[in-house]
């Protein structure tokens, strides 16, 4: 029987096969580190007198806590500052490459890896962060791990893991104009639910996925975790190879040829069997927005706020009721009429150059709704520089948006970029949990296109609403 992409990559990383249902020992090709989940891992090494086994397969960046204004001033929040200073000391002591605030390669860990060409097809990639699934866009097994696993990987470059189940998510056809990768993944999560992917690695396939750019594929894989999955993957193809080629850490010369030859084998065989399959029609996908407090509570923009009374499942009804109460929404209200206070464009889901470009295109020649505050936070310092080279920063600033330095920013509100109580936000990030973007803050997850159109009209909108 044929094998799936995930099975192939898994098999190529088995150091020791687990017997009698015991986990396999899996080799890790790339370990990404940031300031929040690493301090105790490094201290554990220090206490046990252990070195980092492969500093040359490890890279760190500062992102979760970093300010996005006045980055030359000391960080005001004590916990944030301590975490960042601790990472700097640990990187120094253990010989780990670190991109600090102010460095041209600093940025959100999941933007930096691919940008440097360190994320490539057929790898195993881990990081103490759940959105590590982003890197699966290259056809790698990429997953988030906890702090004790971070220490384990630092010390051994391996993890003990049980194989995952596989789920094929096929998106056929062509996306309509105005819809994007974010709408695909929001629709997938709404369809299978926030627990639907539990125990699975999702493989996205089909014509609509094949025609997406690498950045768009990253957006999709990034949110696999919001469907409860361990990881998401897309089989590598010419689009992938073209993206990797020429990046600082891409293979060169003969290595490049050998790599591509191997990468071409990384696809699910035609007769491979998945443990589960889901099919979506891209042509049906309108811009999607969330109305509730988990990423599965989303609907097409043309819909209205759902009425919990119509929901059959008891748990879902209760969760919808409490979500609407928290979000301050009434059933039956058209989603298009929901007025927002803030628009956040950024995060590891939608903070890459293409995202900024597509939003800039929407606002071009238009004026911002005066009641809306818009914050644009590039995913990395390089994205910021590239956007500035194209003059995007100027377009955003002229439009009335704030142009910030790179970091996680308002995606999780660990730094000062937070929503206030009751403030409503259209956000291109990935989590709309209660309080995620600040205590009492209300988040609607949207694509960059919808974010930009919303900033123009002041209510949740798609570019088509602007004509």
């Amino acid at each position: 029987m044929g094998r799936t992409l995930a099975e192939k990559v898994w098999n190529d990383h088995i150091v020791a096969l687990g017997e009698d249902g015991e986990p396999d020992l899996i080799y890790i090709d790339l370990h990404l580190v940031h300031e929040v989940t690493s301090p105790q891992a490094f201290e554990g090494l220090r206490l046990a007198g252990r070195p980092v086994r492969r500093p040359d397969l490890t890279i760190a960046t500062e992102d979760h806590n970093t300010p996005t204004v006045d980055i030359d001033k000391p960080i005001a929040d004590l916990t944030s500052r301590t975490q960042i200073e601790t990472l700097r000391r640990n990187a120094q002591e253990f010989g780990i490459r670190l991109h600090s605030l102010g460095d041209a390669d600093q940025g959100i860990v999941h933007v930096v890896g691919p940008q440097l060409g360190l994320t490539q097809p057929g790898m195993t990639v881990v990081c103490g962060d759940s959105h590590t699934s982003t890197h699966g866009a290259f056809g790698s097994i990429a997953m988030g791990i906890g702090t004790s696993e971070v220490e384990h990987v630092l010390a051994t470059q391996t993890l003990s893991l049980k194989p995952f189940k596989t789920m094929a998510i096929t998106v056929d056809g062509e996306l309509p104009a105005g819809s994007s990768a974010k709408d695909i993944i929001l629709a997938v999560i709404a369809k299978i639910g926030t627990g639907g992917g539990q125990g699975y690695v999702l493989e996205y396939r089909g014509e609509a996925i094949r025609s997406l750019s690498m950045e768009a594929r990253m957006t999709i894989c990034n949110m696999s975790i919001e469907a409860g999955a361990r990881a998401g993957m897309v089989a590598p193809d010419q689009t992938t190879f073209d993206y990797v080629k020429g990046r600082p850490h891409a293979p060169q010369g003969e290595d490049w040829d050998a790599a591509v030859e191997y990468w071409k084998t990384l696809r699910s065989d035609d007769d491979a069997e998945f443990d589960a399959e889901v099919v979506l029609e891209a042509a049906d996908l309108e811009p999607f927005v969330t109305w509730g407090t988990n990423p599965g509570q989303g609907l097409p923009l043309s819909a209205s706020v759902p009425d919990p009374a119509q929901i059959v499942d008891e748990n879902e009804r209760a969760s919808a009721e409490s979500a609407l109460a928290y979000m301050g929404l009434t059933p039956g209200m058209p989603l298009r009429d929901i007025a927002v206070d803030t628009v956040f464009l950024g995060s590891c889901t939608n903070g890459r150059l293409e995202d900024l470009r597509s939003a800039a295109e929407v606002i071009r020649g238009r004026t911002k709704d005066p009641n809306v505050r818009m914050m644009v936070v590039p995913g990395s310092a390089k994205v910021r520089l590239a956007a500035e080279a194209e003059g995007l920063d100027k377009e955003f600033v002229d439009f009335g948006a704030e142009w910030r330095f790179a970091g996680c920013s308002m995606c999780l509100g660990m730094n000062p970029d937070q929503l206030s109580d009751g403030e409503r936000c259209a956000s291109t990030s990935n989590r709309n949990f209660e309080g995620r973007q600040g205590k009492g803050g209300r988040t609607h997850l949207v694509s960059p296109l919808v974010a930009a159109a919303t900033a123009v009209r002041g209510t949740l909108s798609s570019p088509a609403d602007l004509d």
């Binding site: 150091v15 080799y27 790339l30 301090p39 500093p55 010390a155 391996t158 050998a258």
Partner: protein
């Protein structure tokens, strides 16, 4: 991790069931960047009460906690085990442990000994009558001895073995070090390295 085969120390009666990890260590302490020095955080809320058992002599210096059922429920924070160890506890006795807590204990060299509730009650009685009584937890024979009472406890074979051998997760994996090195030798040359940095 140090090898443990037997531990003897002062027994501390904690007559509560369902002690969750948020009681063992409140969330505010999770912001720290260390994995030691949590002794002040252990049962922080309860310790504000002068009547709390750890504020009483001779229990202050205790090292064997005798708790009610369902110990360590709630959030998976490993800090709960760190705090118990940092305070000086070597073992916790309870008739039932939350799975994740039990797993975290094994990984960090804390003995989570599962003792019948009726035996827990007997031990509590002895500690009432003889405060400061010593308790011996013997991993070899899987028994707990307090005064003249000796009762069995349960612990799974794997956890018992790793405690006896003093193996944490990492040392367990490093027993396969040869296999890791062999694997590394076969990794293709085209796999990327972060060092030296190329920009």
């Amino acid at each position: 991790m140090d090898k443990i085969s037997t531990h003897t120390g002062t027994g501390v009666p904690l007559r509560r069931s369902n002690v969750d990890t948020d009681q063992i260590i409140p969330a505010v302490y999770l912001k720290r960047v260390t994995r030691t020095g949590f002794e002040d955080a252990l049962f922080a809320r309860w310790r504000k009460d002068p009547e709390f058992v750890l504020n009483q002599e001779p229990f202050r210096e205790g090292s064997v906690l005798v708790a009610g059922s369902d110990f360590g429920t709630g959030s998976s924070r490993e800090h709960a085990v760190w705090a118990l160890k940092d305070y000086g506890f070597a073992a916790v006795l309870s008739s039932r442990f939350a799975d994740i807590f039990r797993g975290n204990s094994g990984k960090n060299g804390l003995i989570a000994a599962q003792v019948e509730q009726s035996d827990i009650e007997l031990i509590w009685k002895i500690l009432d009558n003889h405060p400061g009584a010593q308790i011996t937890v013997d991993l070899e024979s899987r028994t707990v001895t307090c005064d003249t009472l000796t009762v069995p406890f349960q612990i799974d074979d794997f956890t018992r073995w790793r405690l006896l051998e003093g193996l944490d997760d990492i040392s367990l994996t490093l027993r396969d070090e040869a296999a890791i090195s062999r694997f590394e030798a076969t990794r293709p040359a085209f796999k990327p390295k972060t060092l030296p940095a190329r920009v």
